[in-house]
Amino acid sequence: MTTLKICGAALLCAAAVPILREMKGMSALLSAAVAIMAAAAAIASIYPSVSFLISAAEGTAFESYAAVLLKAIGIGYCTVITADACRGAGADTAASGIELLGRAEILLISLPLITELLSGVAGLI
């Protein structure tokens, strides 16, 4: 039901954008609002699946890895949605900066994995 509502809102937005094009910035703002609303709805709908995955990984050997992966996917989505919104508003440079930030952030949360991998390889020496 939520999906239908969001799809309807997106269609309305798509119809409104050509009309509002003459009002500078309004169409971009509307697009960004709909995108953020859709993302919020997506997060709300995806939450049970992700929490199931996390609870399934709890107590297993890969619990810590699941947490890292969840953080990485969260950062990825936040970055992409924000960058798209910026791009829609015509702020391409800001979008590129956000994407770079997202990549750096994912690399940062991967650092413990790299350290663990290196120490694992060092265990062979």
């Binding site: 989505y77 994995l113 062979l124």
Partner: protein, 392 residues
């Protein structure tokens, strides 16, 4: 007069021969008589047989049949105690013991692969390719971390087992060499014993300077192959494995062939020498010459029995040392193969590559351990097959 001179010379050579046999097994005591000396030699070699247990790892010692090192009855009851039923029973128990941890390992690796694949499906929706690649790298690193934690123990276990095998062989070879010398095979003992000791030294050096560094390099390559976007290192571990196993296999075959023909030639030479001495004793020493020859023959047969027992126990110990590791490596290869296939089905190509490369590394280790074991067993079998020169 000439006949007496020949008799005295033959007697002196017989005494020299006996004393050399006895000293070879560190049993040289005051020689009250040839029979007593031979009896001492036999009893001391039995002691050497019992001493062998000191070089057997504790976990293997507990797997050996009860009373295997108990005195005189050992040789007669040995074929029953360490027969086919015993060996296959032990192998089955090792398999049963390894199956549960292997199933846990499989479930854990499959779970991690499924988790990475699930998050990978979510990441497919990312419109930015760079962020998507970054996430794939993160997921691959997570899986690599999880996999490597299981693989380090297996590789170190394989290195340790080769070390244990080398230590045990270094202990058993001198005992077998001493027994061979006692049986009159002096030339054969020196050639075969030296050859096998040389081989164990080569194997120890090979493990330390070649096998382990290559495994580490293959591990590194496997991780690079998984992380690298272009996958240019794909299959390098497989190539290393094939090249190395073919070369090592050829070297092993060469070693076995050289050992076999050297042993055959030296055994023949020892046989001729022993026959000449026995003929000299039998024909030159009046009255007791024939009896002395028969006594030597009997003692040599006894020593041969002990040699066979020590060799057989040695082979069984090597099988018991190596079998758990071989079974683990085999199961590990199968697990990695299954996970690689599962990752491919789930669309995680990098994880599939990582698993496939690690499977190659596991196969490489399995080949090295199996090859070393085979050579040790062949070496000991060569020892066992040598007939005592004095019994002809």
């Amino acid at each position: 007069m000439r006949r007496w001179g020949a008799a005295i010379a033959a007697f002196i050579s017989a005494l020299l021969l006996l004393s050399s046999h006895i000293s070879a097994v560190d049993t040289h005591k005051s020689s009250d008589g040839s029979t007593q000396a031979m009896s001492n030699a036999t009893s001391d070699v039995n002691d050497s047989f019992s001493e062998l247990r000191k070089f057997i790892p504790e976990d293997v010692l507990s797997e050996l049949p009860e009373g295997i090192f108990d005195g005189e009855d050992t040789s007669s009851s040995l074929p029953e105690k360490i027969g086919v039923k015993y060996i296959f029973g032990k192998l089955w128990s090792f398999i049963k013991r390894s199956l549960l941890p292997a199933a846990g390992n499989l479930a854990s690796l499959l779970g991690m692969t499924a988790l990475a694949a699930s998050f990978g499906l979510l990441a497919d929706g990312l419109s930015c390719a760079a962020i998507g690649r970054m996430f794939t790298l993160c997921a691959t690193l997570a899986v690599a971390c999880h996999v490597i934690n299981t693989q380090v123990g297996i590789i170190n276990g394989a290195a340790l087992v080769i070390g244990s095998m080398t230590v045990f062989s270094n202990a058993i070879i001198p005992i077998l060499t001493a027994l061979l010398i006692s049986s009159g095979n002096t030339l054969t003992a020196s050639v075969t014993g030296a050859g096998l000791l040389e081989f164990t030294t080569i194997l120890a050096n090979f493990t330390e300077y070649c096998f382990l560094p290559l495994c580490r390099a293959c591990f590194g390559l496997a991780i690079i192959a998984a992380i690298s976007e272009n996958g240019h290192t794909d299959g390098i571990c497989g190539i290393v494995k094939k090249t190395f196993t073919v070369t090592a296999g050829f070297a092993a075959a060469l070693f076995t062939a050289v050992m076999t023909y050297q042993t055959t030639l030296t055994a023949a030479a020892d046989g001729v020498a022993a026959r000449s001495i026995k003929y000299a004793i039998g024909s030159s020493i009046p009255v007791v010459g024939g009896a002395l020859g028969d006594a030597i023959k009997g003692t040599a047969a006894g020593l041969s029995l002990i040699k066979s027992s020590v060799g057989a126990v040695g082979i069984v110990v090597i099988i018991l040392i190596v079998s758990p590791v071989l079974i683990n490596l085999f199961l590990n290869g199968a697990i990695l193969g299954i996970c690689s296939a599962a990752a491919k089905i789930l669309g995680c190509d990098r994880i599939a590559t990582l698993m496939a490369e690690l499977k190659n590394v596991s196969g490489f280790i399995l080949a090295v351990v199996a090859l070393s074991t085979t050579i040790f067993i062949i070496g000991l079998s060569v020892f066992l097959k040598i007939n005592p020169a004095l019994s002809v």
